[in-house]
Point group: C2
Chain length 256, copies 2
C-alpha cells in the first residue's frame, strides 16, 4: 500500500515547526524507509493530533523533519483497560498488537495462579504497542504497565469501572466435556444497553483461572463474568473477540 | 489445564468400538502425550459427536483406543465461509487458527491483486485447522480449499449467501489521512436484525483491495461492504473481530 508512512514522536508538534526526533528515528527514515529530501511522513505524539511532515536532508548525515499542515485533530480512545496474563512469547506479542488495534487505552500484564511467564519485559511490549499504534492509524499509544500480581492490580479498583472477566477456560477446566453448569452470560448480552463508560477486560492464561481465583473474582462487586460463545478461545483470540463486541456495543465503533 | 486431551480421528465412532487411528496417532498418544494404558482421551470425527476413549497397550508397540460413552452429540457449525488472501506465513497460520476458533465452516484462500503469496499450501493450513479444532472443543473441522483467484471463487456464488466484504484497508488507500468518504457501514449495524442464514466474509491482504476489485465487489448484488471501527485492522485481527460480531449477532453465540 502506498499510504504515507506514520511515525510516533515524543516532542510537541505544530505547523511550521521542526519535529524533534529521538534515538535512531532519523536513521530509520533514511536507511530503513529509504525516504529522501522532499518525501513526506505523518507524525503524531498522542497529544497534538497528526501532521504531515517533510524530510529535509543536510548532506548525507542529518535528516530533519518539518511539520506541515495538521491532518487529524487529536481524539481520545475509549477508556478500556486490558488486564492479561502473560503467555508464551509470540502469543503475548500478538495479544499486545491486537489489543492496540482494537483500541484499548491501557495494557496491564498480571500474574495469575496459572500464568506461563514469571517475568514480563514491559519495555519490549511497549515498543510493540507503539509500532501497532503507528500501523493502525491510532492517534495515541496505550501505556503498558509493569507486570504485577492480579490481586495487587485490582485491590484498589475504581468501583464504577466494570471489569469483564472472561471465564470460559475456567468453566472448561471443571467440566471438560461441555458441561454448561455455572456458565457465565454471553458478553454481548451483558453489554446490551450498557451506557458508554470506563471498563476493563480480564483475560487469563491458557490454563484458565484457578478455582480460588474464580471464586474470588466472582465475589467482587465490579466484576462481571462473561462467556464468548460455545468454543474455547485462546487468550489472544478472546481479547480481539471481546474488544470487538465492546467497541461495537459500548465503545467507539458505535455512533451513539 | 488438566482437561482430557482431544483427538480428531477419521473412522466411525461408536460406544464399545475400537477407534481406528491413522498415520502416527498411536505414536503421538504414547510418545508425545505420554499416555499409558488406562488413560483416557476424547475423540471426535466431525460426524458422530465426541466419545471418551481408553488407551489399551499391547506390549510397548501397539496402542489401541476403545471408545467408551458418548460425551457430546454432534452439532453443526453455523454456515460461515471465510475467504481470505494469503498473508506472510506466520500471520496466515494465525488467521487460520483464529478462524477455526471463531467457528467458520469453510476456509477459502483466494488470490487478489495485492495478495502477498503466489502459492498456498492448503494441506499445511488444513493441519493447522485440525489442531485448532481439537484445541477449541469444536466437533467438526472446517475444510481448507485449494487456493484460487478471487474472481473464480465468487463467479458461481449462491445468491442467498451474503458476502460481507471488509473494505477498510481499501478506503485507507484512497484517503490516507482519515478521509471518511465512501466509508462502508459498520458490520454490527449491517448485521442488526439479520436472520440466521448462510453467510461469508472476505478479508483482503495487508495492502487492501485494488480500486478495480473494490468497484467490482461493490457492484455484486450479494456483496455488502462493511467497516470494522475507526482503526485499520490487520487481516487476522479483522477476521476475529468480524466473526465475533457475526457469531454474536447472527451465529451460534446468540440464543435466538
Amino acid at each position: 500500500m502506498s499510504a504515507t508512512p506514520r511515525l510516533f514522536v515524543d516532542g510537541d508538534l505544530g505547523e511550521g515547526c521542526p519535529v524533534a526526533m529521538s534515538g535512531d528515528q532519523d536513521h530509520y527514515l533514511v536507511k530503513v524507509m529509504r525516504l529522501r529530501a522532499g518525501d513526506t511522513v505523518r507524525v503524531f505524539n498522542g497529544r497534538d493530533g497528526e501532521f504531515l511532515a517533510t524530510l529535509h536532508q543536510d548532506g548525507k548525515r542529518n535528516a530533519t523533519l518539518l511539520a506541515g499542515p495538521r491532518t487529524r485533530v487529536q481524539a481520545v480512545s475509549p477508556d478500556m483497560r486490558l488486564l492479561f496474563a502473560p503467555l508464551k512469547k509470540t502469543r503475548t506479542d500478538f495479544l499486545v498488537e491486537k489489543a492496540v488495534e482494537m483500541g484499548v487505552s491501557e495494557l496491564w500484564p498480571v500474574f495469575t495462579d496459572r500464568s506461563d511467564a514469571e517475568r514480563v519485559r514491559s519495555d519490549r511490549l511497549q515498543r510493540i504497542a507503539l509500532e501497532a499504534a503507528e500501523q493502525c492509524e491510532r492517534l495515541d499509544v496505550p501505556v503498558v504497565s509493569e507486570a504485577q500480581p492480579l490481586a495487587q492490580a485490582i485491590i484498589r479498583w475504581e468501583p464504577l469501572r466494570t471489569l469483564y472477566f472472561c471465564d470460559e477456560a475456567g468453566d472448561e477446566g471443571e467440566a471438560p466435556w461441555g458441561g454448561q453448569s455455572g456458565r457465565a452470560p454471553q458478553l454481548d448480552a451483558e453489554l446490551a444497553g450498557t451506557p458508554r463508560a470506563s471498563a476493563a477486560l480480564l483475560v487469563g492464561p491458557e490454563g484458565g483461572f484457578s478455582p480460588a481465583e474464580r471464586n474470588w473474582l466472582r465475589s467482587l462487586p465490579y466484576v462481571r463474568p462473561v462467556s464468548l460463545g460455545p468454543r474455547i478461545l485462546r487468550a489472544e483470540t478472546a481479547v480481539v473477540a471481546a474488544l470487538a463486541l465492546w467497541q461495537a456495543l459500548a465503545g467507539d465503533w458505535s455512533r451513539r
